[in-house]
């Protein structure tokens, strides 16, 4: 069953990033049962972790969402009021005009719920960024009449839609994302297909994101993609392009679940055991800058949620300087094991 409120609204201790970071540094790590991430990557010659070429500029347009998913690392929900203002968007647009990143990635919450979302997409699309991603939770398209035309809008601006669908079966999806989410997601995917997404005659891209619905790691991305493709086609005549398998990182609501279900230690053991130095080489913080709703800069969306701002003189979009940022050291903690396990994990799926 999905939660009704965010950690923040429930005033849960874990809503405070410092408490999450303290938890992740105590217990099995402090007692030496498992190595700190810093020590682990030092052993494989990857410390300090430094950025490579910037490829992705990821903007979080706000933490408001129409869903309250049980695993959400953003702790998003209808009760979250943090929304990017038009002024911050203007500052982002200035950066988008000059960035060397080839991908612009809009996320949230539900980015579509930002009142200036459409204006921003129109403006940002003028910069001619090669790959323009919007991370859509799908159900937003059906949440209100004013969103019903989103598929057409996405098509108009050649937006690359990346959507979460934890599983191709109703039960697991609804358990993680809320009752009724699966049926609405299916309907939204059919609407996207109908306007040309993931159809051979168009170049409109529709990718899906799979993340495990529980305390286990994702398996082979290609095998899962095949299972999803077969099931969605047979059951609902749905097409999509790629499936990204993303590991749940032990922060925010997923951390709460791990602790409450007494899976935390086993999960951390599994992540550390699956540590893959090849994944560290391509981990997403090496090619991404994440911008929060209020314009602060982070190494990734997870660090944003833990309020670990970039370790640089430049920390805000208003002072953005790509060359300076590229000299920074990436900030790490034990949650980073989530991106280096197995074939690795990033917003673009596996990396190794």
């Amino acid at each position: 069953m999905a939660l009704l409120k965010s950690l923040s609204a429930r005033k849960n201790d874990l809503s405070k990033p410092e408490n999450q970071l303290a938890f992740l540094s105590n217990g099995i790590f402090k007692e030496g049962e498992l190595p700190f991430f810093k020590d682990k990557i030092a052993k494989t010659g990857n410390y300090p972790l430094k950025p490579e070429k910037l490829e992705i500029l990821q903007l979080n347009l706000g933490y408001m969402c129409n869903q309250v998913c049980s695993h959400c690392h953003v702790d998003a929900g209808p009760d979250r009021k943090e929304i990017m203002t038009k002024e911050t968007m203007q500052q982002c647009l200035e950066v988008i005009k000059t960035t060397k990143a080839h991908t612009l990635d809009l996320t949230g919450g539900a980015p579509e719920m930002n009142p200036n979302f459409r204006w921003f997409v129109e403006e940002a699309s003028k910069a001619g960024i090669k790959d323009f991603i919007v991370r859509s939770n799908l159900t937003i398209i059906l949440a209100n009449k004013k969103y019903h035309d989103l598929p057409e809008f996405f098509k108009k601006y050649n937006v690359h839609v990346v959507s979460s669908l934890p599983f191709y079966k109703k039960e697991k999806t609804d358990k993680q994302r809320g009752t009724g989410v699966f049926d609405k997601s299916i309907k939204a995917l059919q609407m996207l297909n109908a306007v040309g997404y993931a159809q051979p005659e168009t170049e409109l891209k529709l990718d899906l994101v799979y993340n495990p619905s529980g305390a286990f790691l994702p398996t082979n991305q290609q095998a899962l993609e095949q299972d999803f493709k077969t099931a969605l086609k047979e059951d609902f005549n749905i097409d999509f392009d790629n499936l990204f398998a993303i590991t749940n990182l032990p922060i925010s609501r997923f951390l709460e679940f791990l602790i409450a279900s007494e899976n935390y230690e086993d999960y951390m053991y599994a992540l550390v055991e699956a540590y893959n130095p090849a994944a560290v080489e391509s981990v997403m913080c090496t090619n991404t800058i994440s911008v929060s709703w209020d314009g602060w800069l982070y190494d990734c969306d997870f660090n944003q949620m833990l309020e670990l701002k970039v370790d640089s003189k430049v920390q805000h979009i208003s002072d953005y300087n790509e060359d300076l940022l590229n000299n920074r050291e990436i900030r790490i903690s034990q949650h980073c094991y989530g991106c280096t396990a197995g074939a690795g994990s990033s917003c673009q799926g596996t990396v190794a």
């Binding site: 599983f167 529980g214 286990f216 790691l217 994702p218 398996t219 095998a223 899962l224 299972d227 053991y269």
Partner: protein, 111 residues
């Protein structure tokens, strides 16, 4: 010393059996790893077989391990339970087929 015979944490220590017999331990884990690779059977199919056998040999470690493995592979709970029934059917069949031996003996002994 643990007061129970089975401790879930011991599953993580499985690899330590090589410490007391390195060659045999390594040979076992090499063999084990090879068995579960993709082959004439898919890794997914082998995971379901392993789950069924785990129940038949009543190994709690194996049941934990292959339930998790199945979840990771996207195997549904319906598939998992059918696999357990397949194992259980063979196990009960193995008991019941001995009933023929009983019948044979009964008939032989009876006038």
């Amino acid at each position: 010393m643990s007061k129970t015979y089975y401790n879930p944490d011991d599953l993580r220590k499985f690899g330590e059996i090589t410490e007391w017999s390195e060659e045999l331990g390594n040979k076992f884990f090499d063999y084990y790893g090879k068995v579960f690779e993709e082959g004439a059977l898919s890794a997914r199919e082998k995971s379901l077989i392993a789950l069924a056998v785990s129940h038949v040999v009543k190994c709690p470690y194996c049941i934990d391990a292959y339930t998790k493995d199945g979840l990771q592979r996207g195997i549904t709970k319906e598939e998992m339970m059918e696999a357990v029934h397949a194992g259980a059917a063979i196990e009960s069949g193995a008991t019941l087929v001995h009933g023929v031996q009983m019948m044979n003996k009964y008939d032989k002994l009876s006038m």
